[in-house]
């Protein structure tokens, strides 16, 4: 199905794409047809820089369970970083 589910977050960072590292400006999160993974649908994470064209993209497809696990570990890492006092 074409869910048209698409969320966005502005981000600061860098990603490594097919032509090396580039600055990231946005993360797009969707749940729709998978392109490469074997599931019909997948969580679709795209880390992009719109100013650099469609190819400036780091793409990830994963299932929902993986997404939940990733969220938990992201949250844990963030909390640990903040607790360490070196979060900047």
């Amino acid at each position: 199905m074409c869910t048209m589910i698409a969320m966005h977050a502005a981000i600061k960072g860098a990603g490594k794409g097919s032509e090396g590292w580039f600055p990231l400006t946005q993360a797009n999160v969707g749940f729709d047809h998978a392109t490469h993974s074997q599931a019909e649908h997948a969580l679709l994470l795209d880390f992009v820089n719109g100013d650099l064209g469609p190819g400036a993209r780091v793409a990830v497809e994963m299932d929902i369970a993986s997404g939940r696990a990733l969220i938990a570990q992201l949250q844990a890492a963030i909390e640990a970083a903040e607790a360490s006092g070196v979060a900047e």
């Binding site: 048209m4 190819g55 993209r57």
Partner: protein, 254 residues
């Protein structure tokens, strides 16, 4: 039909990425597959799916051309930029999808491009899978001049109010009374969009408005059962479906 050619037939085609004047006269890319010969040949506007203007659609174009159809498959994402199909699709997805009005305009221009070919027989059909099925229904309902439309498991033909977006402001089913030509629909009973209930709802609307329609539902198939590059492929249902596609176009475009 598959393998219905004669071994001494003259067969050939020219298939390529080129450009044409799309909606608003914009120069956009398109894949064309044109059989060689004087024809006259019917035309087909091939409407690509949400996952993009990709190699699968180039194969579909050549398959139709191999059966004697002039085919044009516009890059409906052309205005979003260029790159590999999945990169461009990701950009389009991130921006909320391509607008229905844009697809309608590009498809109408494609239909006129086909009719202007010197070897055209004057008839044009439109077909697509997934979102391309939805768009095909939408275009054939909003634009006069098509002689047949084929909806291959188009999701979101039926849309609830909360599924409407700025890009998709009206559900295609709401244009049913304006549908201008016969419609063939092929669906998998394991599909979630369109669900069997939504297919029934669409069929009821076609019946209510006295439209010429032919719907087929396949057991053991879900969404995208023609896609040989994906696990969704179902060989038996896909080959039967292709034969129904060719039979329908044979009936209404010749």
């Amino acid at each position: 039909m598959w393998n219905s050619f004669k071994t001494d037939d003259q067969m050939g085609m020219v298939a390529q990425i080129t450009t044409y004047a799309g909606g608003n006269g914009d120069k956009i890319h398109t894949y064309t597959a044109l059989p060689q010969g004087n024809g006259p040949f019917p035309g087909v506007v091939l409407v690509h799916h949400m996952p993009g203007w990709d190699e699968l659609y180039q194969e579909f174009a050549r398959r139709l051309a191999n059966h004697g159809y002039n085919v044009i498959c516009p890059d409906l994402y052309c205005r979003f930029g260029h790159g590999t199909p999945d990169d461009v699709t990701a950009k389009v997805r991130g921006e909320g999808g391509v607008a229905d009005d844009s697809v309608v305009a590009d498809s109408e221009a494609a239909m006129k491009w086909l009719k202007a070919l010197p070897n055209s027989n004057g008839k044009v059909g439109i077909v697509g899978t997934c979102s391309g099925g939805r768009h095909s229904v939408l275009v054939a309902s909003r634009v006069p001049g098509f002689d047949a439309v084929i909806d291959l498991w188009g999701g979101r033909v039926v849309q609830s109010a909360d599924q409407l977006t700025p890009q998709q402001p009206v559900a295609p089913i709401d244009y049913t009374k304006d549908l201008n030509c016969p419609i063939l629909g092929l669906f998998g009973n394991d599909d979630q969009s369109p669900s069997p209930e939504q297919v029934n709802q669409h069929e009821a609307e076609l019946k209510k408005h006295g439209k010429n329609y032919e719907f087929h539902r396949y057991d053991g198939a879900g969404h995208a059962f023609f896609y040989h590059d994906r696990p969704a492929y179902r060989q038996q249902q896909a080959m039967d479906g292709w034969n129904k596609v060719f039979a329908f176009f044979e009936k209404y475009l010749h």
